[in-house]
Symmetry: D3
Subunit: 227 residues, 6 copies
């Protein structure tokens, strides 16, 4: 389904201010605000803990064991982008290390999301360049086959269009379509506003059973208590 | 990224004659003819061997452990369709058994492709209703949450639009976008036409090294023979 | 949690007639009749297709790579039993082959369910001794460490007590507690009686949407049709 | 095998003092003291390193993608409990986040052990609420189907009864049946008392071969040294 | 550790008569006769059931997604060989289909053992060319990078030298070093000679407990029977 | 293929100075300098981050669930060694804890590489004894069956000879054959010398496309830019 050997230079990025604000809300809240869709598979893990980023997607499609297109993608990065890398088949090779990270960072990229492996992870942490990947591997790549840049890709089970917003933290990675970014931000902010109050109640010992009025529907569903 | 709770009734199916002819070429040849893209993950396996089908995709998005939308999808099936079922998270439950297969078959469906599990596999084989799935499981489903029918879905790592052509056999499952179906058929027929001659040569003992003229590029790449 | 080094000789087997009748109903129907519990993980697969058995469980707990207790279990088998083998840690070794199968068959066992590997699978098929396992492996075992026979075991994620009824077919393996066997048989027979009529309706083109009266609840849940 | 839709309010918890002392001994020593049984699968990992807890089990059985019963379980927690959550099928969804953790902590729970996923892991670490899980995932849950609270459950391959002692640290999670808790504590304390002396000897360069008197049995088993 | 870009033309094959006789004994018996070593991982499965082969190894090392060296290997095949293909990293691509099989078969190869995927499996079965692989995949390969032929390789976790004997059947794949082939054959024949008598005894109802005189060592180890 | 029950006392270790210098270069650079071979599978992960070691391999072959040979291996350790442990079948048990680490450290070992599990990981970190493993597990081992020490082993898919150099860091583990250690060090040093200059250029915004002169070959391969 992929168009190979093409680079789209002009992509429609989601609104910058919206994209930037989503980071603070976190992937779990954003995912809920989307109606529980848009999540990449949970085997996408941060290479070091504590990062929380959002940005607009520059996508790249690569072949197994071949990272040639990473260099092509670098040129398309603008400040505030997150690079999303998909592979045409399962692969855990190390597609990305500190040299590419230096280049991506110099171009303004905030993070890499890759459905494969990366390396130089100690150096990447030192540089402050976060990566979400499914593997860490010393294995390097060749540069032999064309993929594409800025086409829609399937990354870790999720469809990502160039320009979509990516939200990533220790809980995982979510993709928000550009057209839904503003509405998602609104919904997520509302969710978050309610959480503070709920948290206080629960901390005081109020049960979710009462706070969410679950006792009746549980009884209606047939729940029995046995002493 | 998914639109939930919607059923698109009017989809643009790929040309029927083209869709039908692709079955005989097989998933491997079609995948090559596409430029080696469009393949679903190889953990999608037929529940019994020897089937070879193609058809136009009716897509359905379901939630883990919930097969409610299968019944909604059944109504959208036309003769010659293949149902492609995606789940919003990893799941191996048995979403589909002989009753649903009876209904799908009565509506004209040729097969089911599902990124989850199925059951009643002995009966499905007896009925001649092929399924490609990643699991077989007795575990049944509830009917509680809305998904969608005939939206673009990511199934086993591949993006499938309603109306695309699905080609499935013992080697796996390929999705051919509707707009590329005719060109893919042409390319696949050409590939196949050449294979007969190649096969005869190889069977006579001619080496691929000579038939494909590989000796020079191998030597140029530095291959050394040691006696 | 396991008691090691013990063999319980007198176990309370489920009613034989009930146990025998459950085979014909199949694991999927029995699992539904139980309220969708009792299923072993779907990675338990038959080593050859087409078997459908039920019987009363003789349980055996073994250590990784050690099949000593299989011989101890053999003595506890009575006609109509199914041996259920659990391992104290993940293992895919071949615990069981044609010699043990000859012994088990001579004692009256109908099948083996094992959360590990078996071997001599061609010979087992020739003998007509079915096995559900998660692996096939030539790797043999040592005989060095005590396990137990006829204690409650966790096999492929399910708790099995000696004497429970095991139902296994191409769809998987279900455990029915002895105390619930009769009620489960009743419920399963009722389920099955309804299926014939449903199948005929669906085959005639009636939709599940109408047969199960799903249109209203779907609309109430917000399903929208788009032309 | 599970009884669904029930909550047992009165469970027999293991002796508090015994349960509390087991934490300091660690899961590896406790597991050895049990005779090498009772361990949950090693894919149960702490969401952040350095925690070491023990407590009495409150069990909860949930369905895939559905965390309704977590709220029911919260009410059954007493100070010193550890919640053990089992799912009726494989699932990696995020069943538990900072709000539920706030509630559990307010009720006196020390930790959660769950054979599925959790989220808000950064916040959980900040709160000091440890979790052992097999996944981390932003994916939230619905609240639609009844499970049970305080029935025996199979969690990550181990049978856990309500009231059993759970010991968890960076090495994994062990379940000690309530009836064996005191004896296990004794055995574990004895094991530990011996370890200090052994450690000192080994640190001084004495070999395990000599300290454990292994040279003779190794020679008897046929070990050959080749210079 | 691999030498890349080389083809060893003169390898020392194990004695042909010995290599040929090992097939009939099967991988499980041969593996036992070797002292339970030499087995490839159990995820190496036959693409169709019922094959039982042995032969001398021609080895080939390939890169992920690149089957160029298969053609180089074809030239080194002699009648009675089994090709053993290792990949420098995890890969499930389809390296081998009916055209290569035609060439291998014309050169006298009996089978392919590959730690990756193959395709055209229906046609391979029709041709009678067996393959043991860890995957089946339509995904084809490029021809871009040099590997080697007839160097020692690690295939599915086992070290295979060119000229070693490979024994493969439905139970798995074993590698017998050329220097140990004759001794292994002797040991395997002796094992098999004993099996007929044992099988007859077990079939008559004699227990392994008695036939192998296990009752005493079991009692010595502390086994207790409880009525 | 393994010789069982033997301990080779006199092994040829790689040059100490060369072995020591390789640590600083890291597994990724060393792997590239080797021509992208020699890497252990990426599921070998450090039990705590930030370690970077190299040393000469002492190898040990063990059976699943049996760590007897660890004590035999301890005696063969010399200052500067890294112990490489292979298992004859898949196993995640905890073969190694703080007592064995105390002994290994006292003998001069720098690290353990094991294709199985370890335990006492918090204590190992406190002691500063790094381990690369594929699992962490509280599950202990028995001491019943002979393996071997200082024979060639396959560990995590890579062939390791005693005396080879092991390089391990957060990116993974590489094995450098003793005979190639000096040449690999040279090649790795040259690679590293070039990296500083490249990094500076990339940091200044120069693109890899220009620095590596990739624009022409990409165009020759058919890459198209679309505005």
């Amino acid at each position: 389904m992929y168009e190979l050997g093409v680079v789209y230079r002009n992509i429609q990025r989601a609104d910058r201010a919206v994209a930037d604000q989503l980071a603070a809300l976190g992937s779990a809240t954003v995912h809920e605000a989307m109606g529980r869709v848009g999540l990449l598979k949970p085997d996408m893990r941060p290479i070091y803990p504590g990062c929380q980023v959002s940005g607009t997607a520059v996508t790249v499609l690569l072949h197994p064991g071949d990272n040639w297109m990473m260099h092509v993608a670098a040129e398309q990065i603008r400040a505030g982008d997150v690079v999303v890398a998909a592979i045409t088949a399962e692969c855990t090779d190390g597609y990305f290390g500190d040299l590419l990270a230096t280049s991506f960072q110099a171009r303004g990229a905030r993070a890499l999301i890759i459905d494969a492996g990366v390396r130089d992870v100690k150096e990447l942490q030192r540089m402050g360049f976060p990566v979400w990947s499914k593997a860490i591997s010393s294995k390097g790549c060749i540069k032999a086959t064309l993929g594409s840049v800025n086409i829609p890709v399937v990354c870790a089970g999720a469809l990502v269009h160039p320009g979509d917003v990516i939200v990533a933290d220790d809980d995982g990675v979510v993709c928000v379509p550009a057209a839904r970014a503003a509405a998602t931000l609104d919904a997520a902010l509302k969710r978050e506003a309610l959480e503070g109050e709920k948290r206080a109640k629960l901390a005081s010992g109020v049960l979710g059973l009462d706070m969410y009025k679950m006792r009746e529907p549980l009884a209606a569903a047939g729940l029995r208590y046995i002493d």
